[in-house]
Symmetry: C2
C-alpha cells in the first residue's frame, strides 16, 4: 500500500505558459517577433513565426467534469490558475496529495518542436533559452522542493543541444525533454551518429531524456474517420515503437550512461514488449545489424523507465517489467489527469502492492533517476 509518509512524485505534468514568458526575456528589438498572446475573433491565441496557435481546450481541464470536455480553445480566465501560476499550482498539488512535479512545455510542444519548425533559428534558439530560464528561474524557483527542472533543447542542432544541456545543467536542470522519434520531424534517426554530441552531454550531466507521447508530432490514427478517443487510446504505441527502436539500436552501446523515460506512455505494454523483443532477438538478430550480445530486455533494464497515470495492468506485471523501472505521474492539467483525486487513485491502485515496492514506484525511483533529493 501507499503509506502516508511516501512523497508522491509526478514525472509528467505541464505548465501552461503565461502570456509574458518570452516577452519578459527576449531582447527589446526581438520582442515583437517572439511568441505573444493576441486576441483573435475573441479567442486568445499564441502568435509566433507568422502563425497562430490556438491552445487546445483539453490541455487545461484539471478538475473539469469529463462530460463537459471539449476540443475548443480555453482562455486563461477560464482555466484554474494552477495551470499557469506556480504558487496556485503548488496549492493544487497539496490538494492532490502530490509532493513534486516535473513539468513539460506547452506552447513549445512536448519536445520543443515549435521552435525547431521556425524559420529564424537565431530567434528560435533565444526562445528555447527563454523557456528554460522561465522554468528554472521563475517556475521551479518558486519552491525547488516541489518541482523537478526539465529543459528543452534546440532540436535542429545536436551541438547547440549539447551546449544548452551544459548551460541548463549548471543552473540546476535535472532532465531534458526530447523526441520519441526524430525522423517524422525531418531529423536523423537513432541509428545514425547525429545525436552523439547531445547524448554525450546528457551522460556527462547525468540528465535523463524524457520522451513524451506525441513528441514525434506523429500519432497512430487508423483513418481520418476515427474520433479522438481512438487516437488517445493508441498514444502508447509511440512509446512501444521508440522502445524497440532504441533497445535494438547501438545508442546505449555508445552511451552506456544514457537514461530514457517514456513519459505518459503507460506501463501495461512493457512486459509484453520485453518478452516480444527478446523472442525476436533470439530468432532474428543473426541476419540483422543489431547488438548481438545483449538481449533488448537487458538494455531496457539498464537504460529505460516507464511512467503511468493509472495502469493496473502495469502494476500487476511490475515484476516482469522491474519495479525499479516504474514511475508515477499525474499529467496535470491535461485531460487524463485525475486531479484532485490523483493520490486517492494511486492509493487504490497500490492497495495490494508491498509497501517497499509502492514507495519505489511513487517516490524513490524518481528521486534517484532525477537526482532530486528529499529536502532535509
Amino acid at each position: 500500500m501507499l503509506r502516508s509518509d511516501v512523497d508522491l512524485i509526478s514525472v509528467d505534468d505541464h505548465v501552461i505558459e503565461h502570456a509574458d514568458v518570452w516577452q519578459d526575456r527576449l531582447p527589446g528589438r526581438l520582442k515583437p517577433r517572439g511568441p505573444r498572446v493576441e486576441e483573435r475573433d475573441g479567442i486568445p491565441v499564441w502568435v509566433y513565426d507568422g502563425r497562430a496557435y490556438p491552445p487546445l481546450g483539453l490541455d487545461a481541464v484539471a478538475g473539469d467534469d469529463p462530460s463537459k470536455f471539449t476540443l475548443k480553445t480555453k482562455p486563461f480566465k477560464d482555466m484554474r490558475p494552477g495551470c499557469y501560476d506556480p504558487k496556485a499550482r503548488i496549492a493544487d498539488m497539496d490538494r492532490d496529495g502530490v509532493a513534486a512535479q516535473l513539468c513539460f512545455p506547452q506552447f513549445p510542444r512536448f519536445a520543443g518542436q515549435t521552435f525547431a519548425e521556425a524559420a529564424d533559428k537565431d530567434l528560435a534558439l533565444l526562445c528555447v533559452r527563454a523557456w528554460n530560464d522561465f522554468i528554472l528561474d521563475e517556475w521551479c524557483a518558486t519552491d525547488p522542493a516541489r518541482f523537478i527542472p526539465l529543459a528543452i533543447v534546440p532540436l535542429w542542432d545536436a551541438a547547440l543541444a549539447a551546449a544548452e544541456i551544459e548551460r541548463t545543467a549548471a543552473k540546476g536542470a535535472r532532465a531534458i525533454t526530447f523526441t520519441e522519434n526524430p525522423v517524422p520531424l525531418g531529423m536523423p534517426s537513432f541509428w545514425t551518429d547525429h545525436w552523439d554530441p547531445m547524448f554525450s552531454a546528457l551522460e556527462e550531466a547525468e540528465m535523463p531524456m524524457c520522451l513524451h507521447i506525441g513528441s514525434s508530432s506523429k500519432i497512430t490514427m487508423p483513418s481520418t474517420d476515427v474520433p479522438m478517443a481512438v487516437i488517445v487510446s493508441l498514444m502508447a504505441l509511440n512509446s512501444m515503437s521508440a522502445c524497440s527502436d532504441l533497445c535494438f539500436s547501438t545508442v546505449f552501446e555508445k552511451h552506456p550512461r544514457l537514461k530514457v523515460v517514456f513519459s505518459e506512455g503507460g506501463a501495461g505494454w512493457a512486459a509484453y514488449m520485453l518478452e516480444k523483443m527478446d523472442y525476436v532477438w533470439s530468432r532474428h538478430r543473426h541476419y540483422n545489424e543489431v547488438n548481438q550480445t545483449r538481449p533488448p530486455s537487458e538494455t531496457f533494464d539498464r537504460h529505460i523507465w516507464v511512467a503511468q497515470i493509472t495502469d493496473a495492468v502495469g502494476l500487476a506485471t511490475r515484476h516482469q517489467i522491474g519495479v525499479h523501472k516504474m514511475l508515477w505521474e499525474s499529467d496535470y492539467p491535461h485531460s487524463d489527469c485525475l486531479w484532485p483525486n490523483s493520490r486517492a487513485n494511486a492509493e487504490e491502485q497500490l492497495r495490494d502492492v508491498p509497501d517497499d515496492e509502492a514507495r519505489m514506484f511513487a517516490e524513490t525511483n524518481a528521486r534517484r533517476l532525477f537526482r532530486f533529493e528529499k529536502a532535509s
Copy 2:
C-alpha cells in the same frame, strides 16, 4: 498444464502454394495471365499482372536454425515439403504435436491484397475463387479433421465479397481472412457503411473474420534505418490499432453476431489495451461519436479473440483478457514458428495454468469459434 488428451489447434499457419494452384483451375485462355512460377536469373518467382513476386526466404523456414535465417528467396526444392504438400504438412503436424491448422494464403498475401491490386478485376475474381477451391477441395480435403478451411474474398467489392462468403460457406469454409485496416489499401474505413453487406454475410454464415498482422500492407517502422528485427517486434501494433478502431466503432452495433480474430497479434498487450480503452472511454466519449453505452472492453469480450504463438505475458494476464478469448497458433512455416517444438513449448507455457483453462486455450475455444467439431 496441457494434458495429453488435449488436441492442440493452431489458428494461424500458412500454405506455400504449389506452382499449379491457379494454372490447374483457371479457364484455358486465361492460364497465361494467371499466377504462374517462372525461373528468372535462376530464382523461381511468381509472375502475375505484369509483375514478378519473389518469395521471401523467411516465409518457409520451419525447422531451420534461426542463425541461418536469410531474407533471400527460397526455391521449392529447398523447402520442407510440408510447406506446399498437405500430406507432408500433416506428417509435420504429427511431429509437432498439432491436431489441426487454419492456413492463410501466401502468394495472395494475408488478406488477398495481391488480387485487389491487380488491374483486371474479372481475372482477379477468378483467382480468388481458384485459391478458395484449392484450399477447400485440395488442401483441406486431404484430411478434413486436420484443417480448418479459411477463404479469401475479393476485397475490392463488398457485394462480391458477400457472394464469395456464401459460396465458400456452402462448400465448408469456416472463416475468412480480411484486412486489419482497409484504409492503407485505399478502401473505406470501418467507420463507413461500405462493408455492411460483407459483415452481414459473415454473420449469416457464422464465419469469423481473421485479421492477420500485416494484412493492411502497412508496418510500424520508426525509420527506414531500422533492421527487420525492429519491424518484427512491432507487428502487434497493427492488431492494437485495429482493436481500438473496431471497439470504439459502430461495426458491432450494426453486426451483433460478427466475430474477429487478431491472427498472430499475440495477447500480452490485450489486458493493457482493455484497461486503456475503458479509461479513455470513461473520460473522452462525451465529445466523441462513439458507442455511449457499452465500454470497449465489453465489445471486445463479445466480439474479439486474440491468438499467440508463445506469449507468457498473455497467459499471465489471461484473467484480465478472458481465457475464453484466447487462441493458440503455430505459424508454420514462417520465421516465428517453433516447429517441431510447438507442443513442447505450449506445454512449458501452460505448466502452471489449470487444466480446464489450458484446454480452452489450446483446443475448445478454437473448436467453438470456428465450428470445428471433433471427429467422433
